[in-house]
């Protein structure tokens, strides 16, 4: 155990986390150059493109230190977005230290701070690393100053590196050995292993990623998940090298995998504690939380023929994403589809993108909704996360919506604009607190519905990327709610219906009308777009018809070309949804979905 170090790399997006991970992997020689592929830890395209690591991942690096001893350095990668902050916290809970990466040219950024705070919550050793020192625009002195004033860390503890060029790598590995404490715990105690991730493997079922805190686990053991007391027989344990490497056992302090005949990832809970059936630990490891979807939206195939494909794809997708839930749904305008639950909007984006990219589906998403609570006049209580299930307004005695506590960290200079934004988003009960010179911690209670729209984007933009944001769900509070519908040439597009706060309805409707106006291509006739509450029209816009659009010449030599063009246009139209006689492109649905007044 003395020779084990468990650590994560944390950083603002693009500060070089994946690149550094690659260098560490290369340096320690887990893989030879031949099978080395840049950015090994991010193994999905989307992660590479978006520069965020969505699901945690881990690897054990064998390292022979300058003191002559050999160490096992377990690198645990973390996702980087508030939607997944719980997953991040579980990964960090598995570590004793972190490398805090700071871009030498950009300096301390919002997520640098947010991640630092998370690390500090877990009492982790923090090693600040100034990366990209090879850049001509690197300003190391400024970064050192920021490490001191903004992060409150001792600037003398930093290491300079260029992950790209491979400088400073050995110094980093030495610091991991010397400065990050070895894990504590005892292999003789009852088993307590933290689940920090789970992946689906087509042959082995669920592969649990775990950090053992106490005791040891080996093949043949009967283990118990403390969250639901389900038991399984361990089939195999091992370490993460480039592939899984089977081991005799996993003991206190170690990071590795456990395969135990668990069918799907939904059968395990990130943050849960694994113990032995016959010699359990007294209590689970701290910090477990059951993550529940808070954002709901329906997914429809653009072509109704694709429904079965969509169903199959969701089933496959679900295998690897326990926090995603879905069930059948149908829409008058869009046909058969699925109602889905997500951790947040980014999670929704990711699912959407996966479905489109990996499963090659064209889909339409309805406007996301939170889960509302209605008390009807007969006393019954109804949870509604789908506008199509909105109760008869005449029957509603009380409507309530979920509130969250938003916690924000930001430089003082943005305080005014952030407070303005929070108030605009119906924030109440603010709390403010100076955490350092020029740094403020701000919290508000806000309706979740306001946050899932574009709060995060706007927050980032008003704080120019220097603010960090996190939230916890609080409770339900009474609210004046209405159902707002969108009509296109008189036909209701139910996927665009939204449950909104009465005061928000008009603005939302106007915005939706405008966005649709921009996104729906002009057609041969005028298109009226209306926003309505019941039969009351509260917003409208009109798309004028185009009236001249015809090729002048079409003789023998022009026909094939013209037909090909039409075929292409027709193909494009297939990717649109017909509402009445109006074709609405997918982008229009997306535009409304992202809409808020900005």
């Amino acid at each position: 155990m003395e020779n084990i170090r468990n650590f994560s790399i944390i950083a603002h997006i693009d500060h070089g986390k994946s690149t550094l991970a690659d260098r560490l992997i290369q340096f320690t020689g887990v893989c030879n150059e031949r099978n080395f592929q840049d950015q090994l830890l991010d193994n999905m395209d989307i992660e590479r493109e978006r520069g965020i690591t969505i699901k945690s991942n881990a690897i054990s690096l064998p390292y022979r230190a300058q003191n002559g001893q050999t160490y096992t350095l377990n690198l645990i990668d973390t996702p980087g977005h508030v939607d997944f902050s719980y997953e991040v916290s579980r990964s960090l809970a598995s570590c004793e230290g972190v490398l805090l990466l700071i871009d030498a040219a950009q300096g301390v950024q919002a997520q640098t701070l947010a991640n630092l705070y998370l690390a500090m919550e877990h009492n982790l050793e923090v090693i600040p690393i100034i990366n990209k020192i090879d850049l001509p625009s690197a300003d190391i002195d400024r970064v050192l100053e920021e490490i001191d004033s903004e992060l409150g860390l001792d600037p003398d503890t930093h290491i300079k590196a260029s992950a790209k060029e491979g400088t400073g790598i050995e110094e980093i590995l030495e610091a991991i050995v010397l400065r990050i404490p070895p894990p504590t715990g005892s292999g003789d105690n009852p088993l307590a292993a933290l689940i920090f991730d789970a992946k689906y493997d087509a042959y082995r079922g669920t592969v649990i990623h775990s950090r053992v805190f106490e005791g040891a686990v080996k093949a043949g053991d009967i283990i118990r998940f403390m969250y639901n007391n389900s038991t399984y027989k361990v089939e195999e344990v091992g370490h993460f090298l480039l592939q899984r490497a089977k081991r005799e056992k996993l003991s206190a302090g170690e990071v590795g995998y456990i395969i135990a005949g668990v069918k799907t990832v939904s059968d395990v809970r990130t943050g849960d504690t694994i113990t032995h059936q016959d010699r359990p630990c007294l209590q689970p490891l701290p910090g477990f939380k059951e993550v529940k979807p808070v954002v709901f939206a329906s997914i429809y195939p653009i072509a109704s023929d694709d429904y079965q494909d969509l169903a199959d794809s969701l089933e496959k997708y679900k295998l690897n994403d326990a926090s995603f839930i879905y069930e059948k749904d149908s829409s008058a305008a869009l046909g058969q589809g699925f109602r889905c639950g997500f951790l947040g909007l980014l999670h929704l984006d990711i699912v959407q993108e996966r479905l489109e990219r990996e499963y090659d589906l064209s889909i339409i998403l309805s406007v996301p909704s939170v889960r509302y609570r209605f008390t009807l006049k007969d006393g019954s209580v109804l949870y509604v996360d789908n506008p199509t299930h909105y109760p008869d307004p005449a029957e509603i005695a009380k409507g309530e919506e979920p509130y969250i506590r938003a916690s924000m960290m930001l430089p003082e200079r943005y305080l005014g604009s952030v407070m303005k934004l929070c108030m605009e988003k119906r924030g109440v009960n603010s709390n403010m607190n100076y955490t350092g010179p020029g740094r403020v911690e701000l919290s508000y209670e806000m309706p979740l519905a306001e946050v899932i729209f574009d709060f995060y984007d706007r927050f980032k933009s008003v704080t120019q990327g220097y603010g960090s944001f996190d939230y916890d769900v609080l409770d339900y509070r009474e609210s004046s709610l209405v159902l707002m519908d969108i009509l296109v040439n008189g036909e209701k597009v139910d996927a665009l219906s939204q449950i909104v706060h009465r005061e928000r309805a008009r603005a939302r409707a106007l915005n939706a009308c405008d966005r649709l106006k921009d996104e729906i291509p002009r057609q041969m006739y005028k298109i009226a777009i209306q926003g309505a509450i019941g039969s009351e029209i509260i917003a409208r816009s009109t798309i004028s018809a185009f009236r001249k659009d015809v090729t002048a010449k079409c003789y023998g030599g022009d026909i094939t070309r013209k037909r090909k063009l039409l075929e292409k246009q027709k193909e494009g139209k297939k990717r649109m949804k017909m509402i009445g006689s109006v074709s609405i492109p997918q982008s229009a649905f997306l535009a409304v979905l992202k809409s808020d007044n900005d």
């Binding site: 041969m524 015809v550 079409c554 026909i559 039409l566």
Partner: protein, 379 residues
């Protein structure tokens, strides 16, 4: 396919004295190649003679280009003789030749008639010298007038004039002047094309570098409507997007075959042919064309077998370019689609918005519909 209708024969003469600024037709300024080209053309005809379009006679011939009138009278005669010996030509055939104003003598025109040409399509384009210059035409308005007068004098009673509108610097008034001037000759046929500036033409470069702009949609529509209304008043039928005829019998029988999927055989470089759901076309390169034929090879460069779906789409967009529109029953019989049922809602909208009419079993565009005919086909 419509049975019992004879095919059309198109012959592409790919030579011009110089290139007009807007031209995207295949033609080159290499008159020295004409003699070899004619030899090659005769070989191509000989080839079709042995393997003619299945059981087809022809009742239209169209000598297009390029500038067919660059050919000497003797050369036209040679071509016409070869056509008559290679193909079964109907006695009533419509035989059109395109003519560019300038250097056409009365004698040349009289000879054309003697060799069977009975319809002339004259590339007037405009009666404004400024515009002609802008378009890069070689002739003046005066020469156009001479050509028309000469054609009439030579006894042509079926004359079509080509005109272009929507040109930078040309407002409705200037266009109307050209139109009136054209009407003063009481032509049997008029083609009024809205200028389209195609990529890879000199005009394209000019429009870009000189910041010229094409008419805005509403202005283009004004031109379109004004043209149609004025010509209707003068007794012309707006029978296709850009084509007008002084009575049905003066419609271009040849061009109508394109819009109705009637078989046609195209000879010469870049010419397209269509028969029995297949379309094929020749190399768009005179030298290659000549070489191929001299080596006994086919000049056909590409062909496509149209699926039922493609044929249906073509029938729709071609039909909707014409005032006659689409015979719904025939459409259903050929393509198995009952448009009235399949597109009920959209057609309802289109009727309501005055873009199409459904009458006597036909679906046809109104004037406003013709203006958006391409899009009508996307229903």
């Amino acid at each position: 396919m419509i049975k019992n209708e004879q095919a059309g024969l198109y012959i592409h003469i790919p030579f011009c004295l110089s290139k007009c600024a807007y031209c995207s037709f295949y033609s080159i300024a290499a008159p020295n190649l004409i003699p070899e080209f004619i030899k090659a053309l005769l070989r191509e005809m000989a080839f079709w003679k042995s393997s003619s379009l299945p059981g087809q006679g022809f009742d239209t011939i169209y000598l297009g280009g390029g500038t067919p009138s660059l050919l000497l009278g003797g050369q036209i005669q040679e071509i016409m003789n070869a056509v008559n010996s290679a193909f079964v030509i109907d006695r009533q055939a419509e035989v059109t030749m395109e003519l560019n104003p300038g250097n056409v003598s009365p004698e040349y025109l009289r000879n054309l008639r003697a060799w069977g040409v009975n319809r002339l399509n004259i590339g007037v384009q405009s009666f404004d010298d400024g515009i002609l210059k802008f378009l890069g035409r070689r002739h003046s308005a005066r020469e156009a007038v001479c050509a028309i007068d000469a054609a009439r004098a030579a006894g042509f009673y079926n004359i079509g004039l080509d005109l272009i509108y929507g040109i930078s610097g040309q407002d409705i008034r200037l266009w109307t002047e050209t139109l009136e001037r054209a009407l003063s000759f009481v032509p049997e046929h008029l083609s009024c094309y809205q200028l389209s500036v195609e990529a890879q033409t000199p005009l394209f470069g000019r429009y870009r570098s000189e910041g010229l702009s094409l008419p805005a949609e509403s202005e283009a529509l004004d031109f379109f409507f004004a043209t149609s209304h004025r010509l209707a008043e003068a007794g012309y039928r707006h029978y296709e997007v850009s084509n007008f005829a002084r009575g049905n019998s003066f419609r271009s029988r040849h061009n109508m075959k394109y819009w109705r999927h009637i078989p046609y055989l195209g000879l010469g470089p870049s010419a397209h042919s269509f028969c029995a759901g297949r379309r094929w076309w020749n190399t768009a390169d005179v030298a290659a064309y000549i070489q191929n034929l001299f080596e006994g090879k086919t000049p056909v460069r590409q062909s496509e077998e149209l699926s039922a779906e493609q044929l249906a789409l073509e029938a729709l967009f071609l039909g909707l370019r014409t005032q006659d529109g689409i015979d719904l029953e025939q459409y259903q019989a050929l393509y198995g689609v009952d448009l009235l049922t399949a597109k009920k809602q959209t057609l309802g909208q289109l009727v309501e918005n005055g873009l199409v009419e459904i009458r006597d079993g036909r679906l046809s565009p109104t004037l406003s519909g013709l203006a958006v005919a391409d899009s009508l086909a996307l229903i």
